[in-house]
């Protein structure tokens, strides 16, 4: 146990209430007089709306209001998209304010995916609202459907948006195409893969929900929502959707039960509950269901990549190139287009020092649920592609897969390192992480033994190595604006010390399960040398708090943390200044240590932190230039992103008879710089790895030809159970980032980034195949085994 509070494995204070079911989620809110909203979603994946008959629904018991797009004209603007990656071509549906936009709150003349909201109903009870929504009669004229990005941009494909020719949202590139092509042309060895990184349903344990209220006296709206970005949502909803003064909207996020990136987006329901609260004069509540979530909430991944890697026979990798199609779904989600392009494309060099790299992403609209982030977004798609290629390359030249990686790592003395695609890696010792992972995994002779032993049990053992670098800590605001982000990406903290010495730290980022209340208290308590229990951490309410941007891109600790630290340091300096004045000595003679300030060795002239809080509260006899109380607000805009990295090694066994894949060990060495709370970070690592394992082994948002989800609920859509959690061997190296005072890098999602790749490499190793697309379901693996068996019997037949 370190003697410092920061870095100690304190148990998360928020866990107790959540585990006991005492925490308040949006669905638990019951404002007096609340009415309930249901949303009618499209039955068709693509159709013109010929008419909506609301009469039956309006006449139903308990119904208070029914609205369709026609009622919202000029009232609710479309939801804007705020990450516009640009590129050689860039097309969006329009927004009346000239921002790129946009999706309508309710579909007007056309629906573009199954579930696309066409009407909203408010009634006295949730059941009445749902029944009335089901009673709406929508007359559709079906249109042809397109579900894949590569098909959507072909000539003759069905067109979704009038302002988006060929369904092309963006053709985006990074890196040096000519250099990459030349290196590939000249290379001794070239390996290529076609990869489908399948779409997944983002599945936080709490589906989304919101409550809207309107006070006609003050004309003020309040939105309670399961959001990871309350401040940002306030800004966008007030300024670009409702068109009301910023001061007239307050956004509050109660406890949020997981997000994985989904709850940073604007959704139609948020605007609807606010508008309908005003229309009905009642608070309006909407709670999504698990089944509803499958179409109401942004989905993840979904890329088709053609990937090429070039190198020399002696194991030097010279160039990597990826030409990808990204499926954005029916509309641009709030930041979806940036995730699918920049976050993926700039990341494709991973840990390796290539001479040339190039990526082109064609992002297209299709008749599917809009795409957004999912834990590790973009970077996981890049790393799966890259690390599969590296294995292919190693196999092609007959070199050990770990050795190929080692020979190509960015060396420890090369930082800051420009990866040629737009990222400047901050710090790292990649070889140390690789060595440590290989050592813990028992790689080498042990593997061969285990392989033989498994074979004797009718199982095929496979080992998969995957390294990663994952850009995190979003981000430097100016840089993000160059990436096409409409908005600042700094973070804030306000620290207020109460007369008793207890404190309230109000932060701009929001916890959706990352234990902010525990870890931020550790930052403050550590700085002042006090008990972390005396630090209350408030967040997720725009009323009376400093602005913030929210929790995404693994940024809270590495971008919000330094703001909190800066606020504490400002107050500490004030305490020292005040104490010096009180004791009549120079500031330099006063030392703050161990929770007290004073002249060293002079107990008469020493005061505790709490005593100083009281002194500044009373403001008696203090010099005129010392303002009363301890209260400071700080903002932090990092000079650059930070770049966590690591190496994961998965070992799997495949049952030869059934094709079932079992992850028998999972070794991960992650480097996220300095860690605020190792217990909390371990939780993030384990959850993140499981997320990647889950994509690799079971998850897939399958659409039927008619655009309907084939697995519309958890009876058939597979998510991991406790029994799917592998046996973990976790360790870390610690390479601080120079970009913030904490030396911290992102940690919340990074371990997802290589996890699917590690499993993919292990499964392909076990099967002895060049490539197999995820998810590695038993039947798919069984077919691959059968093909292999067929091939080997074939071979034998020719031999004999």
């Amino acid at each position: 146990m370190p003697d410092r509070v920061l870095g100690a494995a304190l148990k998360a204070r928020e866990d107790v209430g959540q585990l006991r079911g005492q925490a308040t989620y949006v669905a638990d809110l019951a404002p007096p007089g609340a009415a309930h909203m249901a949303i009618a979603g499209s039955e068709q994946a693509h159709a013109l709306i010929r008419g909506i008959d609301t009469s039956a629904a309006e006449a139903m018991q308990g119904v208070l209001a029914v609205v369709t797009a026609a009622d919202l004209d000029g009232v609710l603007m479309p939801l804007p998209c705020i990450w516009v990656p640009g590129g050689t071509e860039s097309h969006f549906p329009p927004h009346p304010y000239g921002v790129p936009g946009a999706r309508p709150v309710l579909a007007g003349d056309r629906v573009r995916y199954v579930g696309d909201p066409v009407a909203a109903v408010v009634a006295e009870t949730p059941e009445q609202a749902a029944r009335a929504a089901a009673a709406l009669r929508v007359e559709y004229e079906p249109l042809p459907v397109v579900l894949r990005a590569d098909e959507a941009v072909r000539d003759g494909a069905p067109q979704l948006h009038d302002t988006v020719p060929g369904n092309l949202n963006a053709r985006w590139t990074c890196g040096d195409r000519e250099a990459a092509d030349a290196a590939i042309e000249a290379a001794e060895v070239v390996v290529e893969l076609d990869i489908v990184n399948q779409r997944t349903v983002n599945s936080p344990i709490e589906p989304r929900g919101c409550v809207g209220a309107y006070d006609p006296r003050t004309e003020e709206y309040t939105l309670w929502a399961s959001t990871q970005s309350p401040h940002n949502h306030r800004f966008l909803l007030a300024a670009l959707v409702l068109g009301i003064p910023f001061t007239k909207l307050r956004v509050i996020a109660p406890t949020v039960g997981g997000s994985f990136g989904t709850k940073g987006y604007l959704y139609p329901d948020m605007a609807l509950v606010l508008h309908l609260a005003k229309v009905t004069g009642r608070p309006v509540k909407w709670s999504d269901s698990r089944r509803g979530l499958m179409t109401s909430t942004v989905q993840g991944r979904d890329q088709r990549q053609h990937a090429t890697l070039a190198g020399t026979r002696d194991g030097r990798m010279t160039a990597v190139k990826c030409v990808a199609h990204a499926n954005l779904g029916a509309y641009p989600s709030t930041i979806g287009p940036g995730v699918a392009t920049a976050l993926m494309g700039r990341s494709i060099t991973g840990m390796y020092d290539f001479q040339a790299g190039f990526c082109e992403v064609t992002a297209a609209f299709t008749n599917t649920v809009p795409l957004g982030a999912q834990r590790g977004s973009g970077r996981a798609e890049a790393m799966f592609m890259l690390e599969r290629l590296v294995d292919r390359f190693a196999d092609e030249i007959g070199m050990d897969r770990a050795e190929v990686r080692r020979r190509n790592l960015v060396p420890a003395d090369a930082f800051p390192y420009d990866n040629g695609l737009g990222w400047t890696y901050d710090s790292g010792d990649y070889a140390a992480a690789l060595d440590r992972a290989l050592e813990i995994a028992g790689h080498g002779a042990g593997t061969a033994e285990r392989r033989a032993e498994a074979r004797a049990r009718g199982r095929r053992l496979g080992v998969g190595i995957a390294g990663y670098v994952a850009v995190c800590g979003v981000g430097p605001s100016t840089r993000m604006s160059k990436e096409g982000m409409l908005g600042g990406t700094w973070e804030s903290a306000n620290l207020r010390v109460h007369p008793t010495g207890e404190m309230t730290l109000t932060i701009g980022s929001s916890s959706t399960g990352q234990s902010h209340e525990t870890v931020f208290a550790q930052i403050i308590a550590d700085e002042f040398g006090v008990d972390p229990a005396t630090v209350e951490v408030a967040h997720s309410d725009t009323g009376g708090s400093p602005y913030g941007q929210g929790t995404y891109g693994s940024r809270s600790f590495s971008v919000g943390g330094p703001a909190a630290l800066a606020a504490a340091r400002t107050l500490k300096a004030k305490i020292v200044r005040t104490a010096a004045a009180m004791f009549g000595v120079a500031e330099d003679d006063v030392v703050y240590a161990d929770g007290a300030v004073g002249v060293p060795g002079d107990p008469e002239r020493t005061k505790t932190f709490a005593e100083m809080a009281m002194v500044l509260w009373y403001d008696w006899d203090l010099p005129r230039d010392v303002e009363a109380t301890l209260d400071a607000t700080s903002y932090f805009d990092p000079p650059d992103f930070n770049y966590p990295f690591g190496v994961h090694i998965a070992e799997v066994e495949i049952d030869e008879e059934t094709g079932a894949v079992e992850v028998t060990r999972y070794t991960a060495v992650n480097d996220v710089g300095r860690i605020g709370n190792p217990l909390v970070v371990r939780g993030q690592f384990e959850g993140s790895i499981l997320h990647g394992v889950s994509q690799a082994l079971m998850e897939e948002a399958r659409y039927g030809d008619d655009g309907r989800l084939l697995d519309p609920d958890l009876r058939s859509y597979r998510l991991p159970h406790a029994a799917d959690v592998p046996f973990f061997q976790l360790d870390q190296t610690v390479t601080p980032t120079p970009h913030n005072e904490l030396g911290a890098k992102g940690a919340g999602e990074v371990a997802t980034v290589p996890a699917a790749a590690a499993i993919g490499n292990a499964v392909c190793d076990a099967l002895g195949v060049a490539h197999l697309d995820m998810p590695y379901t038993p039947e798919k693996v069984w077919r691959a085994l059968a093909a292999d068996r067929g091939a080997s019997t074939g071979k034998e037949a020719t031999r004999s």
Binding site: M698, E779, W782
Partner: protein, 280 residues
């Protein structure tokens, strides 16, 4: 959320329940593990629900000579824990991996076809269970295979399960695509031995898929072969053809057939291993 409206009654006797079901065209509600989800999605929207939870006569496990009578409302957890229940049936119940489901799901509910494979049904088939059905004004007793094939109306009140004898070897085997999930396929075998020779065999199979009901494979292996794995493997291939299985989003027919063959062999292997261990 359940948005359909329905009448509801919780009668005290099976006869009353059967009468209510007949009168209203309703559905019985037992542990609700299948039905409640179907009500929420709208897949089931009966005008009337008859809760069987208050009917005392549907509860209890009672040994009766060579068999055990198991009330329809017995939960899988109770089944898994009761001494009088043949071990292979208790294992089948325990194989349902989710303890919350085991605590609610009932024997009666497990014998209604649901399009999904069942752990329990194959064991009841292999053991040769008979099913008691209470109608509004009649009662019938029929073999489990017939009940599963026809799903007659009325309240399933109890099953009688013959207790395997010393010459019987029994085992279940299941395969789920992930360890804690419901099975893609499940099988149960009861093999009767005459010394080293294999006599009559009953094999219960549940392989899921639309309209796929658990079935009994009885005709085979009976011809008195030896019980070596190779013989069993050969015979399985003979009678488990892909023809009988369904293709749906969860699995293809040929994969299902392959799994059934694999599982039958695994069940026989388990029986053989136990016989070796017990010196039988």
């Amino acid at each position: 959320m359940i948005t359909s409206s329905y009448g509801f009654a919780a009668p005290r006797t099976a006869r009353e329940a059967a009468a209510l079901l007949a009168r209203h065209g309703g559905m019985a509600l037992a542990g609700g593990q299948t039905l409640v989800a179907e009500l929420a999605t709208g897949e089931a929207a009966p005008p009337f629900l008859v809760d069987l939870g208050r009917i005392e006569s549907l509860r209890g496990i009672e040994p009766r000579g060579g068999s055990v009578r198991i009330g329809a409302m017995t939960t899988l957890a109770e089944l898994a824990a009761h001494r009088a229940v043949p071990p292979v049936l208790a294992t089948a119940a325990r194989n349902v991996p989710d303890p919350l489901v085991r605590n609610r799901a009932t024997v009666g509910g497990s014998l209604r076809p649901s399009g999904r494979a069942s752990d329990l049904a194959p064991a009841l088939l292999a053991l040769g269970a008979t099913v008691h059905v209470t109608g509004a004004d009649s009662a019938v007793t029929l073999p489990a295979e017939e009940y599963l094939a026809r799903s007659p109306a009325g309240v399933l009140s109890a099953v009688d399960v013959p207790v395997p004898g010393p010459a019987d070897g029994c085992a279940v085997a299941r395969f789920a695509d992930r360890p804690a999930r419901p099975p893609l396929c499940a099988v149960a075998v009861r093999a009767t031995f005459a010394g080293d020779r294999l006599g009559a065999c009953r094999i219960g199979v549940s392989a899921g898929g639309p309209a796929q009901r658990p079935t009994l494979l009885e005709r085979s292996l009976e011809r008195g072969g030896d019980a070596s794995p190779d013989t069993v493997r050969g015979r399985c291939a003979e009678f488990v053809s892909a023809a009988g299985f369904a293709t749906d989003g969860a699995a293809s027919a040929d994969y299902r057939a392959h799994l059934v063959r694999t599982l039958v062999v695994r069940a026989f292997d388990r029986i053989a291993a136990r016989r070796v261990r017990d010196g039988g």
